[in-house]
Protein backbone atom coordinates (compact mmCIF):
# COMPACT_ATOMS: atom_id res chain seq x y z
CA UNK A 1 0.00 0.00 0.00
CA UNK A 2 1.20 3.44 -0.84
CA UNK A 3 0.73 6.09 1.80
CA UNK A 4 0.76 9.77 0.98
CA UNK A 5 0.08 12.12 3.84
CA UNK A 6 -2.64 10.23 5.72
CA UNK A 7 -4.15 8.52 2.71
CA UNK A 8 -3.58 4.92 1.60
CA UNK A 9 -3.65 3.84 -2.04
CA UNK A 10 -3.91 0.27 -3.36
CA UNK A 11 -2.97 1.30 -6.85
CA UNK A 12 0.33 2.96 -7.69
CA UNK A 13 -0.91 4.25 -10.98
CA UNK A 14 -2.24 7.79 -10.96
CA UNK A 15 -4.02 9.14 -13.98
CA UNK A 16 -5.18 12.41 -15.44
CA UNK A 17 -8.32 13.72 -17.01
CA UNK A 18 -7.01 15.74 -19.92
CA UNK A 19 -6.98 14.77 -23.59
CA UNK A 20 -9.86 12.28 -23.57
CA UNK A 21 -12.35 12.50 -26.39
CA UNK A 22 -15.41 12.18 -24.18
CA UNK A 23 -16.20 12.05 -20.50
CA UNK A 24 -17.41 8.50 -20.90
CA UNK A 25 -14.16 7.35 -22.45
CA UNK A 26 -12.31 9.05 -19.63
CA UNK A 27 -14.37 7.34 -16.96
CA UNK A 28 -14.03 3.94 -18.60
CA UNK A 29 -10.27 4.34 -18.90
CA UNK A 30 -9.87 5.48 -15.30
CA UNK A 31 -11.96 2.57 -14.13
CA UNK A 32 -9.91 0.08 -16.13
CA UNK A 33 -6.68 1.60 -14.84
CA UNK A 34 -7.85 1.06 -11.24
CA UNK A 35 -6.33 4.40 -10.42
CA UNK A 36 -7.49 5.92 -7.16
CA UNK A 37 -5.97 9.36 -7.62
CA UNK A 38 -6.86 11.42 -10.61
CA UNK A 39 -5.60 14.87 -11.45
CA UNK A 40 -7.81 17.56 -12.71
CA UNK A 41 -6.83 20.96 -14.08
CA UNK A 42 -8.45 23.76 -12.16
CA UNK A 43 -8.29 25.92 -15.24
CA UNK A 44 -10.61 23.50 -17.03
CA UNK A 45 -13.43 23.60 -14.53
CA UNK A 46 -16.40 25.64 -15.51
CA UNK A 47 -17.02 27.36 -12.24
CA UNK A 48 -19.66 29.71 -13.54
CA UNK A 49 -22.27 27.20 -14.59
CA UNK A 50 -21.25 24.54 -12.11
CA UNK A 51 -22.43 21.63 -14.28
CA UNK A 52 -19.00 20.64 -15.42
CA UNK A 53 -19.09 17.51 -17.51
CA UNK A 54 -15.82 16.16 -16.18
CA UNK A 55 -16.21 17.00 -12.54
CA UNK A 56 -19.59 15.59 -11.79
CA UNK A 57 -19.02 12.04 -13.05
CA UNK A 58 -15.59 12.00 -11.42
CA UNK A 59 -17.02 12.95 -8.07
CA UNK A 60 -19.53 10.16 -8.43
CA UNK A 61 -16.93 7.57 -9.40
CA UNK A 62 -15.34 7.72 -5.95
CA UNK A 63 -11.72 8.38 -6.99
CA UNK A 64 -9.70 10.90 -5.05
CA UNK A 65 -9.31 14.15 -6.92
CA UNK A 66 -6.01 15.90 -7.19
CA UNK A 67 -6.59 19.38 -8.53
CA UNK A 68 -3.59 20.75 -10.38
CA UNK A 69 -2.50 24.30 -10.89
CA UNK A 70 -1.54 23.81 -14.50
CA UNK A 71 -1.64 27.14 -16.30
CA UNK A 72 -0.11 29.01 -13.39
CA UNK A 73 3.00 30.92 -14.43
CA UNK A 74 4.19 31.95 -11.01
CA UNK A 75 3.76 31.23 -7.30
CA UNK A 76 0.99 33.77 -6.80
CA UNK A 77 -1.15 32.26 -9.52
CA UNK A 78 -0.55 28.73 -8.27
CA UNK A 79 -1.46 29.59 -4.69
CA UNK A 80 -4.59 31.28 -5.93
CA UNK A 81 -5.56 28.21 -7.99
CA UNK A 82 -4.98 25.91 -5.02
CA UNK A 83 -7.14 28.05 -2.77
CA UNK A 84 -9.85 28.07 -5.36
CA UNK A 85 -9.66 24.28 -5.62
CA UNK A 86 -9.95 23.94 -1.88
CA UNK A 87 -13.05 26.07 -1.92
CA UNK A 88 -14.74 24.42 -4.89
CA UNK A 89 -13.73 20.80 -4.41
CA UNK A 90 -13.31 20.73 -0.66
CA UNK A 91 -9.86 19.11 -0.84
CA UNK A 92 -6.53 20.16 0.64
CA UNK A 93 -4.65 18.14 -1.93
CA UNK A 94 -2.98 19.95 -4.76
CA UNK A 95 -0.65 19.03 -7.56
CA UNK A 96 1.52 22.07 -7.83
CA UNK A 97 2.41 22.83 -11.42
CA UNK A 98 4.02 26.05 -12.52
CA UNK A 99 5.30 26.26 -16.05
CA UNK A 100 5.89 29.66 -17.50
CA UNK A 101 7.38 28.11 -20.63
CA UNK A 102 4.61 27.47 -23.18
CA UNK A 103 6.76 25.41 -25.52
CA UNK A 104 7.99 22.50 -23.42
CA UNK A 105 5.98 23.29 -20.29
CA UNK A 106 9.10 23.01 -18.18
CA UNK A 107 8.36 23.46 -14.48
CA UNK A 108 9.81 26.57 -12.84
CA UNK A 109 11.85 25.40 -9.83
CA UNK A 110 12.10 28.75 -8.08
CA UNK A 111 8.43 29.65 -8.22
CA UNK A 112 7.51 26.05 -7.37
CA UNK A 113 9.58 26.05 -4.19
CA UNK A 114 8.14 29.38 -3.16
CA UNK A 115 4.55 28.27 -3.81
CA UNK A 116 5.14 24.93 -2.08
CA UNK A 117 6.34 26.72 1.03
CA UNK A 118 3.32 28.98 1.11
CA UNK A 119 0.84 26.20 0.43
CA UNK A 120 2.33 23.86 3.06
CA UNK A 121 2.13 26.70 5.57
CA UNK A 122 -1.54 27.01 4.73
CA UNK A 123 -2.11 23.33 5.44
CA UNK A 124 -2.26 21.97 1.89
CA UNK A 125 -1.07 18.47 0.97
CA UNK A 126 1.32 19.55 -1.76
CA UNK A 127 2.57 17.28 -4.55
CA UNK A 128 4.87 19.39 -6.72
CA UNK A 129 5.59 18.63 -10.36
CA UNK A 130 9.24 19.35 -11.00
CA UNK A 131 12.25 18.62 -13.10
CA UNK A 132 14.20 15.54 -12.01
CA UNK A 133 16.37 17.62 -9.73
CA UNK A 134 17.58 15.82 -6.60
CA UNK A 135 18.46 18.97 -4.65
CA UNK A 136 15.13 20.59 -5.42
CA UNK A 137 13.39 17.44 -4.21
CA UNK A 138 15.15 17.71 -0.87
CA UNK A 139 14.28 21.35 -0.53
CA UNK A 140 10.65 20.59 -1.30
CA UNK A 141 10.67 17.85 1.33
CA UNK A 142 12.04 20.35 3.81
CA UNK A 143 9.21 22.78 3.27
CA UNK A 144 6.75 19.96 3.92
CA UNK A 145 5.64 18.52 0.57
CA UNK A 146 3.88 15.16 0.91
CA UNK A 147 5.46 13.69 -2.23
CA UNK A 148 7.58 14.81 -5.16
CA UNK A 149 6.68 14.39 -8.81
CA UNK A 150 9.78 14.56 -10.98
CA UNK A 151 9.36 14.33 -14.73
CA UNK A 152 10.57 11.39 -16.79
CA UNK A 153 10.73 13.49 -19.95
CA UNK A 154 8.84 16.54 -21.26
CA UNK A 155 5.07 16.46 -20.71
CA UNK A 156 3.19 14.54 -23.35
CA UNK A 157 6.36 13.53 -25.17
CA UNK A 158 6.04 9.76 -24.53
CA UNK A 159 9.84 9.59 -24.38
CA UNK A 160 9.91 7.58 -21.17
CA UNK A 161 12.56 8.06 -18.53
CA UNK A 162 15.04 10.37 -20.23
CA UNK A 163 15.98 11.58 -16.73
CA UNK A 164 16.76 8.09 -15.44
CA UNK A 165 20.12 8.96 -13.91
CA UNK A 166 18.62 11.71 -11.78
CA UNK A 167 15.47 9.81 -10.93
CA UNK A 168 17.65 7.11 -9.41
CA UNK A 169 19.31 9.65 -7.15
CA UNK A 170 15.96 11.12 -6.18
CA UNK A 171 14.54 7.70 -5.35
CA UNK A 172 17.60 6.79 -3.34
CA UNK A 173 17.45 9.97 -1.27
CA UNK A 174 13.75 10.65 -0.86
CA UNK A 175 11.97 10.50 2.45
CA UNK A 176 8.59 11.12 0.82
CA UNK A 177 6.98 9.13 -2.01
CA UNK A 178 8.41 9.71 -5.48
CA UNK A 179 5.80 9.79 -8.23
CA UNK A 180 7.25 9.85 -11.71
CA UNK A 181 5.21 12.24 -13.72
CA UNK A 182 5.28 13.21 -17.37
CA UNK A 183 6.82 11.48 -20.32
CA UNK A 184 5.72 7.91 -19.68
CA UNK A 185 4.35 6.82 -23.03
CA UNK A 186 4.17 3.04 -22.86
CA UNK A 187 3.36 0.42 -20.25
CA UNK A 188 6.92 -0.92 -20.50
CA UNK A 189 8.22 2.50 -19.45
CA UNK A 190 5.91 2.47 -16.46
CA UNK A 191 7.21 -0.97 -15.53
CA UNK A 192 10.75 0.34 -15.78
CA UNK A 193 9.93 3.32 -13.56
CA UNK A 194 8.50 0.99 -10.93
CA UNK A 195 11.48 -1.36 -11.21
CA UNK A 196 13.73 1.59 -10.40
CA UNK A 197 11.86 1.96 -7.14
CA UNK A 198 9.44 4.78 -7.89
CA UNK A 199 6.50 4.77 -5.49
CA UNK A 200 3.99 5.54 -8.21
CA UNK A 201 3.66 6.87 -11.75
CA UNK A 202 1.29 9.35 -13.25
CA UNK A 203 0.12 8.61 -16.77
CA UNK A 204 -2.26 10.69 -18.79
CA UNK A 205 -1.39 11.22 -22.45
CA UNK A 206 -0.40 7.62 -23.13
CA UNK A 207 -3.80 6.41 -21.99
CA UNK A 208 -5.95 9.26 -23.25
CA UNK A 209 -4.39 9.43 -26.71
CA UNK A 210 -4.34 5.72 -27.45
CA UNK A 211 -6.82 4.17 -29.86
CA UNK A 212 -8.46 2.30 -27.02
CA UNK A 213 -8.03 4.22 -23.77
CA UNK A 214 -9.91 1.66 -21.74
CA UNK A 215 -7.65 -1.19 -22.86
CA UNK A 216 -4.59 0.98 -22.40
CA UNK A 217 -5.71 1.88 -18.89
CA UNK A 218 -5.83 -1.82 -18.09
CA UNK A 219 -2.39 -2.41 -19.62
CA UNK A 220 -0.89 0.32 -17.48
CA UNK A 221 -2.49 -1.13 -14.35
CA UNK A 222 -0.80 -4.47 -15.05
CA UNK A 223 2.48 -2.86 -16.04
CA UNK A 224 2.72 -0.82 -12.86
CA UNK A 225 1.90 -3.84 -10.74
CA UNK A 226 4.50 -5.94 -12.53
CA UNK A 227 7.15 -3.29 -12.10
CA UNK A 228 6.37 -2.97 -8.42
CA UNK A 229 6.46 -6.74 -7.91
CA UNK A 230 9.79 -6.96 -9.71
CA UNK A 231 11.21 -4.18 -7.58
CA UNK A 232 10.10 -5.95 -4.40
CA UNK A 233 11.41 -9.28 -5.60
CA UNK A 234 14.82 -7.69 -6.13
CA UNK A 235 16.39 -7.16 -9.51
CA UNK A 236 19.78 -7.43 -11.00
CA UNK A 237 20.87 -10.83 -9.84
CA UNK A 238 23.85 -11.62 -12.01
CA UNK A 239 26.07 -14.40 -10.85
CA UNK A 240 29.48 -13.26 -9.66
CA UNK A 241 32.23 -15.81 -9.41
CA UNK A 242 35.01 -15.43 -6.91
CA UNK A 243 38.36 -14.64 -8.51
CA UNK A 244 41.10 -17.20 -8.16
CA UNK A 245 43.72 -14.62 -7.41
CA UNK A 246 43.20 -11.98 -4.77
CA UNK A 247 45.40 -9.01 -5.58
CA UNK A 248 43.84 -6.68 -3.03
CA UNK A 249 43.20 -9.00 -0.11
CA UNK A 250 45.91 -11.61 -0.59
CA UNK A 251 47.66 -10.12 2.44
CA UNK A 252 44.96 -11.65 4.62
CA UNK A 253 46.33 -15.11 3.84
CA UNK A 254 49.97 -14.23 4.59
Amino acid sequence: MLKIADHQFHSRLFTGTGKFSTADTMLAAIKASESQLVTLAMKRLDLKTGNDDILQPLLESGVKLLPNTSGARNADEAVFAAELAREVLGTDWVKLEIHPDPKYLMPDPIETLEAAKRLCDKGFIVLPYIHADPVLCRRLEEVGCAAVMPLGSPIGSNQGLATETFLKIIIEQARVPVIIDAGIGAPSQATFAMELGADAVLVNTAIASSNDPEAMGRCFAQAVQTGRDAYLAGLGHVSTKANETSPLTGFLND
Binding site: R138, K168, E172, Q173, A174, R175, G234, G236, H237, V238, S239, T240, A242, N243, S246, P247, L248, T249, F251, L252
Partner: protein, 371 residues
Protein backbone atom coordinates in the same frame (compact mmCIF):
# COMPACT_ATOMS: atom_id res chain seq x y z
CA UNK B 1 10.98 11.54 13.92
CA UNK B 2 14.19 11.65 15.95
CA UNK B 3 16.81 8.97 15.43
CA UNK B 4 16.03 7.61 18.88
CA UNK B 5 12.42 6.94 17.90
CA UNK B 6 13.47 5.64 14.51
CA UNK B 7 15.81 3.19 16.22
CA UNK B 8 12.96 1.96 18.34
CA UNK B 9 11.08 0.95 15.21
CA UNK B 10 13.89 -1.48 14.35
CA UNK B 11 14.04 -4.86 15.98
CA UNK B 12 17.56 -5.87 16.95
CA UNK B 13 16.52 -9.52 16.93
CA UNK B 14 15.11 -9.35 13.43
CA UNK B 15 18.15 -7.54 12.08
CA UNK B 16 20.44 -10.04 13.72
CA UNK B 17 18.48 -12.92 12.29
CA UNK B 18 18.59 -11.33 8.85
CA UNK B 19 22.36 -10.81 9.14
CA UNK B 20 23.02 -14.39 10.05
CA UNK B 21 20.59 -15.93 7.60
CA UNK B 22 21.81 -13.98 4.57
CA UNK B 23 22.53 -16.25 1.63
CA UNK B 24 25.17 -16.12 -1.08
CA UNK B 25 22.49 -15.01 -3.49
CA UNK B 26 21.72 -11.97 -1.33
CA UNK B 27 25.41 -11.11 -1.26
CA UNK B 28 25.72 -11.43 -5.03
CA UNK B 29 22.70 -9.24 -5.49
CA UNK B 30 24.22 -6.62 -3.18
CA UNK B 31 27.52 -6.79 -5.03
CA UNK B 32 25.74 -6.17 -8.30
CA UNK B 33 23.45 -3.44 -7.18
CA UNK B 34 24.55 -0.19 -8.79
CA UNK B 35 24.04 1.92 -5.68
CA UNK B 36 24.12 0.81 -2.11
CA UNK B 37 21.25 0.75 0.33
CA UNK B 38 20.62 -0.62 3.79
CA UNK B 39 19.62 -4.03 2.44
CA UNK B 40 22.84 -4.43 0.59
CA UNK B 41 24.81 -3.17 3.57
CA UNK B 42 23.20 -5.92 5.62
CA UNK B 43 24.13 -8.55 3.06
CA UNK B 44 27.71 -7.31 2.76
CA UNK B 45 28.22 -7.26 6.52
CA UNK B 46 26.91 -10.80 6.93
CA UNK B 47 29.02 -13.92 7.42
CA UNK B 48 27.76 -15.06 4.00
CA UNK B 49 29.78 -12.24 2.40
CA UNK B 50 33.12 -13.55 3.68
CA UNK B 51 33.93 -15.59 0.54
CA UNK B 52 33.33 -12.45 -1.50
CA UNK B 53 35.80 -10.19 0.25
CA UNK B 54 38.18 -9.96 -2.68
CA UNK B 55 35.35 -8.88 -4.98
CA UNK B 56 34.14 -6.40 -2.40
CA UNK B 57 37.66 -5.04 -2.16
CA UNK B 58 37.98 -4.71 -5.93
CA UNK B 59 34.75 -2.82 -6.19
CA UNK B 60 35.36 -0.73 -3.12
CA UNK B 61 38.78 0.27 -4.34
CA UNK B 62 37.44 1.14 -7.77
CA UNK B 63 34.52 3.17 -6.39
CA UNK B 64 36.83 5.02 -4.04
CA UNK B 65 39.23 5.97 -6.82
CA UNK B 66 36.32 6.97 -9.01
CA UNK B 67 34.94 9.31 -6.36
CA UNK B 68 38.07 10.55 -4.57
CA UNK B 69 40.82 9.96 -7.10
CA UNK B 70 44.13 8.87 -5.65
CA UNK B 71 43.83 11.39 -2.81
CA UNK B 72 43.98 10.57 0.87
CA UNK B 73 43.44 13.38 3.36
CA UNK B 74 45.98 13.67 6.16
CA UNK B 75 44.98 14.76 9.68
CA UNK B 76 46.44 14.54 13.12
CA UNK B 77 44.81 14.35 16.54
CA UNK B 78 45.91 16.93 19.07
CA UNK B 79 45.01 16.04 22.65
CA UNK B 80 43.95 19.08 24.61
CA UNK B 81 43.36 17.32 27.90
CA UNK B 82 43.20 13.90 29.51
CA UNK B 83 40.88 15.02 32.28
CA UNK B 84 37.71 12.98 32.29
CA UNK B 85 34.69 12.76 34.57
CA UNK B 86 33.51 9.45 33.13
CA UNK B 87 34.26 5.83 33.67
CA UNK B 88 34.59 3.82 30.47
CA UNK B 89 36.22 0.47 31.09
CA UNK B 90 38.11 0.43 27.80
CA UNK B 91 39.77 3.81 28.11
CA UNK B 92 43.00 4.95 29.73
CA UNK B 93 41.50 8.35 30.61
CA UNK B 94 38.79 6.86 32.86
CA UNK B 95 38.30 8.92 35.98
CA UNK B 96 39.50 6.26 38.42
CA UNK B 97 42.70 5.50 36.51
CA UNK B 98 45.72 6.81 38.37
CA UNK B 99 47.28 8.97 35.76
CA UNK B 100 48.79 12.40 35.72
CA UNK B 101 46.10 14.74 34.40
CA UNK B 102 46.86 17.62 32.18
CA UNK B 103 45.07 20.28 30.20
CA UNK B 104 47.02 22.38 27.73
CA UNK B 105 47.20 26.10 28.41
CA UNK B 106 47.58 28.46 25.50
CA UNK B 107 51.38 28.46 25.60
CA UNK B 108 51.52 24.66 25.59
CA UNK B 109 48.92 24.55 22.83
CA UNK B 110 51.02 26.84 20.68
CA UNK B 111 54.05 24.66 21.21
CA UNK B 112 52.10 21.53 20.23
CA UNK B 113 50.67 23.19 17.17
CA UNK B 114 54.11 24.26 16.08
CA UNK B 115 55.32 20.67 16.05
CA UNK B 116 52.22 19.45 14.21
CA UNK B 117 52.56 22.21 11.62
CA UNK B 118 56.21 21.32 11.10
CA UNK B 119 55.13 17.78 10.17
CA UNK B 120 53.14 19.27 7.32
CA UNK B 121 49.59 19.09 8.69
CA UNK B 122 46.88 21.64 8.03
CA UNK B 123 43.93 19.59 9.25
CA UNK B 124 43.62 18.87 12.93
CA UNK B 125 41.40 16.90 15.26
CA UNK B 126 41.18 18.37 18.75
CA UNK B 127 40.60 15.64 21.32
CA UNK B 128 39.91 15.72 25.02
CA UNK B 129 38.48 13.56 27.75
CA UNK B 130 35.00 14.51 28.84
CA UNK B 131 35.18 17.01 31.64
CA UNK B 132 32.35 19.51 31.58
CA UNK B 133 33.64 21.97 34.15
CA UNK B 134 37.36 22.12 33.44
CA UNK B 135 37.40 21.34 29.72
CA UNK B 136 33.98 22.61 28.72
CA UNK B 137 32.49 25.04 26.27
CA UNK B 138 34.28 28.06 27.73
CA UNK B 139 37.64 26.37 27.28
CA UNK B 140 36.75 25.34 23.72
CA UNK B 141 35.66 28.86 22.87
CA UNK B 142 39.02 30.14 24.07
CA UNK B 143 41.04 27.50 22.29
CA UNK B 144 39.33 27.35 18.92
CA UNK B 145 40.27 30.80 17.57
CA UNK B 146 43.86 30.11 18.57
CA UNK B 147 43.86 26.83 16.66
CA UNK B 148 42.03 28.28 13.70
CA UNK B 149 44.86 30.74 13.19
CA UNK B 150 47.14 27.82 12.42
CA UNK B 151 44.92 25.20 10.79
CA UNK B 152 42.46 25.48 7.93
CA UNK B 153 40.41 22.49 9.04
CA UNK B 154 39.51 21.95 12.67
CA UNK B 155 37.57 18.95 13.92
CA UNK B 156 36.69 18.13 17.52
CA UNK B 157 36.25 14.92 19.40
CA UNK B 158 35.09 15.93 22.86
CA UNK B 159 32.02 15.40 25.03
CA UNK B 160 28.56 15.89 23.52
CA UNK B 161 27.45 19.51 23.68
CA UNK B 162 24.21 21.41 23.31
CA UNK B 163 23.02 22.59 19.91
CA UNK B 164 23.70 26.22 20.75
CA UNK B 165 27.25 25.38 21.83
CA UNK B 166 27.88 23.73 18.47
CA UNK B 167 26.42 26.72 16.72
CA UNK B 168 28.70 29.06 18.67
CA UNK B 169 31.73 26.92 17.89
CA UNK B 170 30.83 26.69 14.22
CA UNK B 171 30.70 30.49 14.24
CA UNK B 172 34.32 30.67 15.37
CA UNK B 173 35.69 28.08 13.01
CA UNK B 174 34.70 24.55 14.01
CA UNK B 175 34.47 22.47 10.83
CA UNK B 176 33.70 18.97 12.06
CA UNK B 177 32.56 17.02 15.09
CA UNK B 178 33.42 13.38 15.70
CA UNK B 179 30.94 11.69 17.98
CA UNK B 180 31.13 7.93 18.27
CA UNK B 181 28.26 6.01 19.77
CA UNK B 182 30.71 3.20 20.70
CA UNK B 183 27.89 0.62 20.55
CA UNK B 184 24.24 0.71 19.54
CA UNK B 185 23.33 -1.95 22.08
CA UNK B 186 21.97 -0.04 25.10
CA UNK B 187 22.72 -2.90 27.52
CA UNK B 188 26.31 -3.27 26.38
CA UNK B 189 26.60 0.50 26.42
CA UNK B 190 25.49 0.55 30.06
CA UNK B 191 28.00 -2.14 31.01
CA UNK B 192 30.96 -0.20 29.64
CA UNK B 193 29.95 3.33 30.62
CA UNK B 194 29.43 3.00 34.31
CA UNK B 195 29.79 6.52 35.67
CA UNK B 196 29.49 10.09 34.51
CA UNK B 197 27.52 11.86 31.85
CA UNK B 198 28.63 9.50 29.13
CA UNK B 199 26.41 6.82 30.67
CA UNK B 200 23.45 8.70 29.18
CA UNK B 201 23.04 6.59 26.04
CA UNK B 202 20.22 8.65 24.58
CA UNK B 203 21.94 11.99 24.96
CA UNK B 204 24.91 10.65 23.06
CA UNK B 205 22.71 9.05 20.43
CA UNK B 206 21.01 12.35 19.69
CA UNK B 207 24.26 14.31 19.48
CA UNK B 208 24.89 14.03 15.73
CA UNK B 209 21.46 15.47 15.15
CA UNK B 210 22.24 18.48 17.36
CA UNK B 211 25.50 18.96 15.49
CA UNK B 212 23.70 18.82 12.16
CA UNK B 213 21.05 21.29 13.29
CA UNK B 214 23.79 23.67 14.36
CA UNK B 215 25.12 23.68 10.79
CA UNK B 216 28.56 22.18 11.40
CA UNK B 217 30.07 21.15 8.08
CA UNK B 218 30.91 17.55 8.84
CA UNK B 219 29.98 14.84 11.33
CA UNK B 220 32.00 11.75 12.08
CA UNK B 221 30.20 8.66 13.34
CA UNK B 222 31.68 5.47 14.64
CA UNK B 223 31.46 2.38 16.78
CA UNK B 224 34.15 0.86 18.92
CA UNK B 225 34.66 -2.54 17.39
CA UNK B 226 34.99 -5.18 20.03
CA UNK B 227 32.34 -4.07 22.49
CA UNK B 228 29.46 -5.96 20.90
CA UNK B 229 28.53 -7.91 17.77
CA UNK B 230 30.41 -5.83 15.22
CA UNK B 231 28.16 -6.82 12.33
CA UNK B 232 25.05 -5.59 14.04
CA UNK B 233 26.72 -2.48 15.44
CA UNK B 234 28.04 -1.61 11.99
CA UNK B 235 24.62 -2.16 10.45
CA UNK B 236 23.01 0.17 12.98
CA UNK B 237 25.75 2.68 12.31
CA UNK B 238 24.68 2.42 8.68
CA UNK B 239 21.10 3.12 9.71
CA UNK B 240 22.23 6.13 11.72
CA UNK B 241 24.20 7.46 8.79
CA UNK B 242 21.36 6.89 6.37
CA UNK B 243 18.90 8.64 8.68
CA UNK B 244 21.17 11.65 9.08
CA UNK B 245 22.11 11.88 5.43
CA UNK B 246 18.51 11.93 4.36
CA UNK B 247 17.41 14.46 6.93
CA UNK B 248 20.47 16.71 7.10
CA UNK B 249 21.64 16.46 3.54
CA UNK B 250 23.76 19.57 3.55
CA UNK B 251 26.11 18.01 6.09
CA UNK B 252 29.07 15.84 5.12
CA UNK B 253 29.70 12.59 6.96
CA UNK B 254 32.57 10.34 7.81
CA UNK B 255 32.87 7.06 9.63
CA UNK B 256 35.62 5.68 11.72
CA UNK B 257 36.03 2.00 12.40
CA UNK B 258 38.37 1.73 15.38
CA UNK B 259 39.14 -1.64 16.94
CA UNK B 260 39.46 -1.79 20.69
CA UNK B 261 43.09 -1.23 21.69
CA UNK B 262 44.99 -2.10 24.88
CA UNK B 263 45.26 0.79 27.37
CA UNK B 264 45.99 1.44 31.03
CA UNK B 265 43.48 -0.54 33.08
CA UNK B 266 41.55 -1.47 29.95
CA UNK B 267 39.49 -4.52 29.12
CA UNK B 268 40.19 -7.05 26.43
CA UNK B 269 37.70 -7.09 23.56
CA UNK B 270 34.66 -9.30 24.15
CA UNK B 271 34.25 -9.83 20.47
CA UNK B 272 37.29 -9.98 18.28
CA UNK B 273 37.27 -8.38 14.90
CA UNK B 274 39.91 -9.99 12.70
CA UNK B 275 41.84 -8.20 9.95
CA UNK B 276 39.62 -9.95 7.48
CA UNK B 277 36.53 -8.66 9.27
CA UNK B 278 37.93 -5.15 9.21
CA UNK B 279 38.47 -5.36 5.45
CA UNK B 280 34.92 -6.62 5.03
CA UNK B 281 33.64 -3.74 7.11
CA UNK B 282 35.51 -1.03 5.22
CA UNK B 283 34.46 -2.41 1.85
CA UNK B 284 30.85 -2.89 2.94
CA UNK B 285 30.64 0.77 3.93
CA UNK B 286 32.18 1.91 0.68
CA UNK B 287 29.74 -0.15 -1.35
CA UNK B 288 26.93 1.16 0.82
CA UNK B 289 27.88 4.78 0.43
CA UNK B 290 30.16 5.94 -2.31
CA UNK B 291 30.57 9.50 -1.07
CA UNK B 292 31.40 8.63 2.51
CA UNK B 293 34.69 9.64 4.09
CA UNK B 294 36.23 6.66 5.84
CA UNK B 295 39.12 7.33 8.16
CA UNK B 296 41.78 5.08 9.53
CA UNK B 297 43.79 5.87 12.62
CA UNK B 298 47.16 4.69 13.81
CA UNK B 299 45.49 2.00 15.91
CA UNK B 300 46.29 -0.46 13.14
CA UNK B 301 49.72 -1.88 12.33
CA UNK B 302 51.90 -0.42 9.54
CA UNK B 303 51.62 -3.51 7.36
CA UNK B 304 47.86 -3.68 7.66
CA UNK B 305 47.47 0.04 7.11
CA UNK B 306 49.52 -0.07 3.96
CA UNK B 307 47.17 -2.70 2.61
CA UNK B 308 44.03 -0.91 3.75
CA UNK B 309 44.89 2.48 2.23
CA UNK B 310 43.85 1.42 -1.23
CA UNK B 311 40.65 -0.34 -0.26
CA UNK B 312 38.27 2.47 0.55
CA UNK B 313 39.97 4.75 3.04
CA UNK B 314 39.87 8.50 2.41
CA UNK B 315 41.50 9.99 5.52
CA UNK B 316 44.33 8.84 7.69
CA UNK B 317 46.42 10.06 10.57
CA UNK B 318 50.12 9.38 10.86
CA UNK B 319 52.62 10.13 13.59
CA UNK B 320 49.86 10.46 16.19
CA UNK B 321 50.30 11.01 19.85
CA UNK B 322 47.35 10.25 22.12
CA UNK B 323 48.44 12.33 25.08
CA UNK B 324 48.14 16.04 25.86
CA UNK B 325 51.47 17.70 25.17
CA UNK B 326 52.70 14.53 23.49
CA UNK B 327 54.15 16.16 20.40
CA UNK B 328 56.50 18.30 22.49
CA UNK B 329 57.11 15.66 25.20
CA UNK B 330 56.55 12.23 23.67
CA UNK B 331 57.37 10.22 26.80
CA UNK B 332 55.05 11.63 29.41
CA UNK B 333 52.94 8.43 29.77
CA UNK B 334 49.59 10.16 29.56
CA UNK B 335 48.25 8.15 26.63
CA UNK B 336 44.62 7.29 25.98
CA UNK B 337 45.56 4.07 24.21
CA UNK B 338 48.56 2.55 22.49
CA UNK B 339 49.08 3.23 18.85
CA UNK B 340 50.37 0.58 16.43
CA UNK B 341 51.72 2.49 13.52
CA UNK B 342 54.62 4.47 14.91
CA UNK B 343 55.98 5.65 11.57
CA UNK B 344 56.48 9.34 10.95
CA UNK B 345 54.08 11.17 8.63
CA UNK B 346 56.86 11.35 6.05
CA UNK B 347 57.38 7.58 6.15
CA UNK B 348 53.65 6.93 5.87
CA UNK B 349 53.23 9.30 2.96
CA UNK B 350 56.14 7.62 1.21
CA UNK B 351 54.42 4.29 1.65
CA UNK B 352 51.25 5.78 0.23
CA UNK B 353 53.02 7.19 -2.78
CA UNK B 354 54.56 3.81 -3.48
CA UNK B 355 51.00 2.52 -3.73
CA UNK B 356 50.11 5.25 -6.20
CA UNK B 357 48.23 7.32 -3.64
CA UNK B 358 48.54 11.02 -3.08
CA UNK B 359 48.63 12.36 0.50
CA UNK B 360 46.67 15.62 0.70
CA UNK B 361 47.66 17.97 3.49
CA UNK B 362 45.30 20.83 2.78
CA UNK B 363 41.96 20.84 1.02
CA UNK B 364 39.82 23.28 2.95
CA UNK B 365 39.56 27.01 3.35
CA UNK B 366 36.75 28.01 5.66
CA UNK B 367 36.97 31.66 4.64
CA UNK B 368 35.84 30.81 1.12
CA UNK B 369 32.92 28.78 2.32
CA UNK B 370 31.48 30.57 5.34
CA UNK B 371 30.17 33.57 3.47
Amino acid sequence: MSFQSYLQTLSREKLKLALYSTTEKDVERALNSPCGDLNSLLALLSPAAEPYIEQMAQRSSQLTRQRFGANIGMYLPLYLSNLCANECDYCGFSMSNRLKRKTLDSVELDAEMKVVKSLGYDSILLVSGEHETKVGIDYFKRVLPQVKKQFSYVAMEVQPLEEQDYRDLAGIGLDAVMIYQETYNPQTYAQHHTRGKKSDYSYRLETPERVAKAGVDKIGLGVLLGLDDWRLDALLLGHHLDYLEKKYWRTRYSVSLPRLRPCTGGITPKVELTDKGLVQLICAFRLFNQQLDISLSTRESPALRDNLFALGITHISAGSSTQPGGYVNPDSQLDQFEISDERTPAQVSDAMRRKGLNPVWKDWEAAWIAQ
